[in-house]
Amino acid sequence: MTVPRLAFEAVTKSFGPVQVLKGVSFDVAPGEVHGLLGENGAGKSTLLKILSGVFRPTDGRVLIDGKPVDAHGPVAARRAGIAMIHQELQQVPRLTVAQNMFLGRPLTHLGMIVDHREQERLAAQALRAIDPSIDPSAPIGKLKVAQRQIVEIARALLEDAKLVAMDEPTSSLTPAEFDRLAEIIFDLSARGVSVVYVSHKMDEIFRICSRSSIMRDGQLVGSVDMKETDQKSVVSMMVGRELSQQTHTSFATDQVVLEATNLSSAAKVRDVSLTLHKGEVLGIAGLVGSGRTELLRLIAGADQRSAGDVSIDGKPVALKSPREAIASGIGLVPEERKREGIIPLRSVRNNIALASMSRFAPHGVVNSRALKAVSATTLKETGLRPFAPEREIRRFSGGNQQKAIISRWLAAETRIFLFDEPTRGIDVGAKAEIYALIEKLAQEGKSVIVVSSELPEVIRLSDRVLVMREGQLAAELSGDAITEEAIASHAIPQSPATAAGTPAAPLAN
């Protein structure tokens, strides 16, 4: 029997009285790509932090090639051959690719002067194996996220890592970039480097991993061979119950609520026209960078359009600021909750109040009783858990923060909800709740636009789907025509030669 590359032996971790890991044990063989699955709060991040030396286990051991990793701290973990690729890449944007690859242990002449030439030579050598197009002397901030990730992997190779742990590496990658990453991971595996791959996305796990360990509530539910299981049973292992796959119900009417004609922005959006009906859920699909977020921001007043008109209930609106858009009944639930959604130090209630000051303070003083009542009603509607409107919003999970933002717009009596990646960073259970909420909004006669990169999500939610490509509308799909294949074929940019004769050619006009 071969010695496993990585072994967790009854790893336990407590913070004070709270036990967040309860005796987790599993192995990863040399060259194995091993998935690590679980809802938010299941203990995956804690386990990764123990692996990367940030935390020390309260009890139990971590072994690399049969040798316990005793030394504590990230440097010791790296020395033991463990490379960690974080979701938020830990790089210094202004430094070059090579400088980042040697961050913390620069090559020097006589221990004094950094040897940039040698660093760049070695960096180039490591990069050649996986992506020769990356220039080691370029500032890393100029690279795309996918490329920056590749730099991290190259750094792991440079350090002769035996094990690479990746925490949700694809959260901001396009499908093509994911394909490239998959190739690199297979390549690592062929070199005998083991990979621990954390992701929420089932199809990725099934495609990349040979085995997976599933965690729930700090415990290992089980390790499964991917060939001998299916998505449904993995999900039920994660959440401890079977999620009912609801079918789509449409509440759309013929009444036009919002109409945009020939919208363009300086940034990405080019000549987009759309109509949104009362009770309708309009999906917007497309690759990352196709201008979907930018389109939403134009409608939300967060960015300024350079051309085009928008009217609501037939009346033209300027939408010069979010404030104006809110007054017209529009509310944006942004993709990056931390950056654009929440005021972290304020309570959930204050976060809700922000958008409705004219309602709660008509005479210049906030009516805290009304605010309390309305926020309680809207939070019950969205199902905040735990129900503590006074608590700082940063203390809630991503899913509950999202519910608070939706409550904000409910309190503001918003009629047009704009969702940008509504379930990004939200676990499977809360995801279903958000879907139900969006459906309920439609049922109540509100109108919804949903931008999402997850095709099953768009298909599940939308009455109609607009596909964007390079800033323009590439297609409009409705009813049975909404399929993953159809969306994907319209979303992917075509080179002029292939586009000419294929059925996937642009539909527009």
């Binding site: 005021i343 130090l345 906030v366």
Partner: protein, 325 residues
């Protein structure tokens, strides 16, 4: 619920206590400890007369620190409060000497302070420059204007009628203390009870999110600087009332004391966090400490040392207790 309706008083007290945060309680404990230490070391420290003295000596810094707190909450900083005060002092004093009635002269001084704040706010919120740099620039500019206008000489001969306003007392409490108490009460209400307060905390807490949520970013920031400038001018009125003259160099290093009071009181220089109650307590802590050390005949070098140590201690305690509320 029905109880609260039946007895509105209970609701009121409930509100007051729920508003008094853990952090403010910490600042209060700090003040009590310092007072206790001096009470033991200095006979007569706790006499009514000396306590009023402390409040009076703290009033100018408290006045500035209130404005500073609002600016810091908005995510900014106002280094120009001292020179703003000097400009206002020089203008008001000049008008008074020319025989302009006191209310008009005061209004003109306050308006000039507001104008200085408006300039800072415009540069920060509309032009988009960094608050530290903008107010560093106006720190020198405003000071230079005051010096150039007066030729570096103090404006003397402020009439007694004006001085009487700021040197009097109300029910035995010095007027400056009453003025600053009223300002503090208004500032507390503004921060806790008005949309502007809500917006201020949101803008400083997360500007991008506040924008998406419909907060008027520029207006909110500008208002904070205008208030800071106006309160600097008010502090200047108190000072020239006491001194009877307006020096163009008055208010030197005021900004640092004001920032210190705000920080001791729990304001975060990252923005989005700060407390009116805390700032007032912070100003009194600094005032009490200086008063006590002076009564003990401690050299001013050591007073400076004590100020520095208090600030560092407050920040360390802040760090150690953060996130445990």
């Amino acid at each position: 619920m029905s109880q609260a309706n039946a007895k509105p008083d209970a609701g009121f007290f409930e509100t007051v206590f729920s508003r008094f945060s853990v952090r403010d309680a910490g600042t209060l404990i700090g003040l009590v400890v310092i007072m206790a230490v001096f009470a033991i070391l200095v006979p007569g420290f706790l006499s009514e007369r000396n306590l009023l003295n402390i409040l009076q000596q703290s009033s100018i810094n408290a006045c500035l620190a209130l404005g500073m707190t609002l600016v810091i909450i908005s995510g900014g900083i106002d280094l120009s409060v001292g020179p703003t005060a000097a400009l206002s002092a020089v203008l008001t004093a000049t008008l008074l000497v020319l025989g302009v009635p006191a209310p008009v002269a005061i209004a003109a001084g306050l308006a000039l302070g507001a104008a200085c704040g408006l300039f800072n706010g415009f540069m920060v919120a509309i032009v988009g420059l960094q608050p530290f740099i903008v107010t560093l620039g106006t720190l020198s500019t405003f000071r230079a204007l005051a010096l150039i206008y007066t030729g570096g000489n103090p404006v003397l001969g402020i009439p007694d009628s004006f001085r009487a306003i700021f040197n009097g007392s109300l029910f035995g409490i010095p007027t400056p203390v009453v003025i600053v108490a009223v300002v503090a009460l208004i500032a507390w209400g503004v921060l806790k009870k008005t949309p502007f307060g809500e917006y201020l905390l949101a803008v400083g807490g997360n500007e991008e999110a506040a924008h998406i949520a419909g907060v008027p970013i520029a207006r909110t920031k500008i208002a904070a600087y205008v208030i800071s400038g106006t309160l600097a001018a008010l502090a200047a009125m108190i000072l020239i009332g006491r001194l009877g003259a307006a020096e163009p160099i008055l208010g030197n290093l005021w900004e640092l004391d004001a920032i210190a009071a705000a920080a001791i009181g729990g304001a975060s220089l990252m923005g989005g966090k700060g407390s009116v109650v805390g700032t007032i307590l912070g100003a009194i802590i600094l005032g009490a400490m200086r008063n006590g050390l002076t009564l003990m005949n401690v050299q001013s070098f050591y007073q400076l040392l004590a100020t520095g140590l208090i600030i560092l201690a407050a920040m360390l305690i802040d760090r150690a207790t953060r996130g445990r509320e």
